[in-house]
């Protein structure tokens, strides 16, 4: 927030990073805002105030409540022992091997699935964008996996990999892949990728529509090969759309739950952090530890979002500092 913001700005600052007013460029001579600009800015804040208030009511309360819980020893099995313990729950969780294993698994799933989905989704998006005949049919069929309820899809994957009866298990020979860590993780990631690649493709297709046909023609005339047109012209123009797609998918992937729940139930160290939090909170009824994990997940997600939003700032063409008017 810029220092010359009016008091109105400060009062509503709790609206979070999304409600940020584009601050004047730093490092240049700062011009005091004119009367009209200031009134306009105030109106802007007033207009988003109702939405901000609703957001606060439905998100801030549970968040703050779980932060409050995370600072207590609070196990529903021993309700008498409830007590304020400060940060000791955080120490317990962060020094626990299970947490870090789950964190590692989550990161692995996030990075691998998002990366693979980006590549596949881009391919799919280009195919969908280029098809002229039966465009509607191609798009609809590509979206089917995304339309299926995750739990249902997860069960069908589980049955497919069940030794003896599943077609995939039969296809890949003996053994029970869902009971071994590496293969189980691979199957979880496969299920995730299968399910959400269409979503990625859809977001990327919106980005493809942003690339003017003339730009690609111009690049052909300038001597670019198909690959050079893709990397040097399409990708830079699509960058904002790619970042949105990556942000959505990364946040989603980091909270992976349903597929793991159905496929392995977290056995053989395949738990994600969400899975672990669920086990502690709902199954273990340990509100203190469970809330601590939830808060940690929230922080991780917030960091991811923050990093992406930072990247966005410079993504839109023409909005960059370099090359601006002098």
């Amino acid at each position: 927030m810029s220092t010359d913001s009016t008091t109105t700005v400060d009062r509503t600052e709790a609206a979070g990073p999304k409600g940020r007013v584009p601050a004047p460029r730093r490092g240049r001579g700062r011009v005091p805002l004119s009367e009209g600009k200031r009134a306009e800015r105030k109106l802007g804040w007033l207009l988003c105030a109702p939405a901000a208030l609703v957001m606060l009511a439905v998100t801030a309360y549970p968040i703050l409540y779980s932060v409050w819980l995370s600072l207590q020893r609070f196990d529903l099995k021993f309700p008498d022992q409830r007590e304020f313990v400060g940060l000791s729950n955080y120490v317990t969780v962060l020094s626990n091997g299970y947490w870090w294993t789950a964190f590692g698994v989550t990161m692995l799933i996030t990075v691998v699935t998002v990366a693979v989905e980006l590549v596949l989704g881009m391919g799919l998006a280009i195919v969908m964008h280029r098809t002229i005949i039966g465009r509607g049919l191609v798009r609809t069929s590509a979206l089917i996996p995304y339309g299926i309820v995750t739990v249902v899809a997860a069960f069908s994957w589980r049955y497919a990999w069940t030794p003896g009866t599943g077609y995939l298990a039969t296809l890949f020979g003996e053994g029970a892949p869902l009971t071994e860590r590496a293969s189980a993780l691979a199957i979880i990631m496969l299920a995730e990728i299968w399910k959400t690649t269409p979503f990625m493709a859809l977001l990327l297709m919106a980005g493809l529509a942003l690339v003017p046909e003339d730009l690609l023609k111009a690049a052909s005339m300038d001597g670019a090969s198909a690959w050079q047109r893709f990397t040097k012209v399409m990708l830079p123009v699509m960058k904002p759309a790619i970042l949105v797609a990556l942000l959505f998918r990364t946040l989603d992937a980091f909270r992976v739950f349903d597929n793991i729940f159905v496929l392995t139930a977290g056995a053989n160290q395949t738990s994600s952090v969400s899975m672990l939090a669920y086990n502690n909170l709902i199954r273990g009824l340990n509100l203190g530890i469970g809330s601590t994990m939830s808060v940690l997940i929230f922080i991780a997600v917030a960091i991811i979002a923050f990093v992406f939003v930072k990247l966005f700032g410079t993504a839109a063409p023409g909005s960059t500092d370099e090359g601006g008017r002098r």
Binding site: A218, S220, G223, P236, G318
Partner: protein, 402 residues
């Protein structure tokens, strides 16, 4: 630099649209050729086929004597300027202009030198580090030109490069384009739907309609000797007046009085299948206030009287709109032209004549005035096929030629 030859080039799209049919065109080395026609007539498609952006479905395209039908755009060594400018938004002006050179794997110094040279020619030096988003329309247009000239390609192709500029800038950029082309002497094919641009820019103009070439020639020649109704109506601003004319006893009966016919035209009209009705075409500048002309001139034309609707004084001369009675001239070509211009400029309607009279004329709105027009300059068209009947060996000879 190279010559470009289109030999019966055709294009039909997969959906069955025939956008270009049998276009024959020889563009000499260093020539500046304009493709002009109403929108949808296949200009861009023709240009894209020369560029290699569209496959050629019939005929042959030769650049510098070599058949290039199946060559990719990058192997044709041709540069193109688009109406939308098509600048890469993520690159600075410098990077935009250097892009084709970088792809051609030139070394850094050569690139730097060529870019700054082109920037100097186009007065872009101060803008080299800006992004396209921070440039005005005219500046973007110049960058697009710069990107085309840095490579010294065999030919330039331009697809309505000035259409997105405002009127004043368009006139300014027209001279920039013209000067640049003269200076570089590179073969250029320039597409426009604006007949003023076509008249002022090129060495030769190609007029297209419905995918076919109507006439090819230097601008003045197309203006003076239009081969058909379409060319006559398309070239010129304000455009030619068209009137219905009935052939009766070796004369033409029209809304501006009877028009006598010379032997040659009369002979043509005696044929068995000759049209009984014609379209008379008169350009605005071939009218004059009857009180201002000497007897010698008067003898070359004929006079009529008509109510004056509107007088627009341009200082150097006056545009006078006259109301005339009579049947409207009708032909497919005229309808097409009217549709392209927009209905408000229906000069072919037959009910209103646009004339350009001397500034000395005392003509006033509301009065009825005697107006003279030059019979040696009029054109007669066959409404069924649009052919100009007054053309003789390529030259328009008027109605009286014998």
């Amino acid at each position: 630099m190279a010559d470009i030859v289109l030999d019966k080039v055709s294009k039909s799209f997969p959906d069955g649209t025939v956008a270009v049919r049998d276009v024959d065109l020889e563009i000499a080395d260093g020539e500046f050729v304009i493709l002009v026609g109403p929108s949808g007539c296949g200009k861009s498609t023709t240009l894209n086929m020369i560029a290699g952006l569209e496959d050629i479905t019939g005929g042959e395209l030769r650049i510098a004597g070599e058949r290039v039908n199946d060559k990719a755009p990058r192997d044709r060594d041709i540069a193109m300027v688009f109406q939308s400018y098509a600048l890469y938004p993520n690159m600075t002006v410098r990077e935009n202009m250097a892009f084709p050179l970088r792809l051609a794997k030139l070394d850094k110094e050569t690139i730097e030198q060529k870019v700054s040279e082109a920037a100097k020619v186009l007065e872009l030096t101060a803008l080299l580090d800006r992004k396209p988003a921070n440039l005005s329309g005219g500046q973007r247009q110049r960058v697009a030109m710069g990107r085309a000239i840095v490579r010294s390609p065999k030919a330039f192709l331009m697809d309505e490069p000035l259409s997105n500029l405002d009127a004043k800038l368009r006139v300014q950029m027209r001279t920039v384009v013209s000067r640049l082309q003269k200076k570089l002497g590179t073969t250029t094919v320039y597409v426009t739907h604006d007949q003023t641009e076509a008249m002022t820019l090129g060495d030769r103009v190609v007029i297209m309609r419905g995918g076919a070439v109507q006439q090819v020639g230097p601008p003045q020649e197309l203006y003076d000797n239009p081969a058909n109704l379409f060319v006559a109506g398309f070239i010129g601003s304000p455009s030619m007046n068209f009137l219905h004319a009935a052939v009766e006893d070796g004369k033409l009966r029209t809304a501006v009085g009877d028009v006598p016919l010379g032997d040659r035209i009369r002979r043509e009209l005696t044929a068995e299948d000759a049209p009984r009705e014609l379209i008379l075409g008169i350009r605005p500048e071939h009218f004059e206030d009857a009180s201002l002309i000497d007897d010698e001139t008067r003898a070359r034309g004929t006079e009529f009287e008509a109510p004056v609707e509107i007088v627009e004084s341009m200082g150097s001369d006056k545009y006078v709109y006259l109301t005339v009675e009579g049947e409207r001239a009708s032909a497919a070509e005229l309808e097409e032209l009217a549709a392209d211009v927009g209905t408000e400029d229906l000069t072919g309607s037959g009910s209103s004549l646009v004339t350009r009279l001397s500034a000395e004329s005392t003509v006033a709105e509301g009065e009825s005035r005697r107006i003279w027009f030059n019979l040696e300059k009029i054109h007669l068209f066959d409404p069924s096929n649009g052919r100009n009947l007054t053309l003789h060996e390529g030259r328009a000879a008027g109605a009286l030629a014998s």
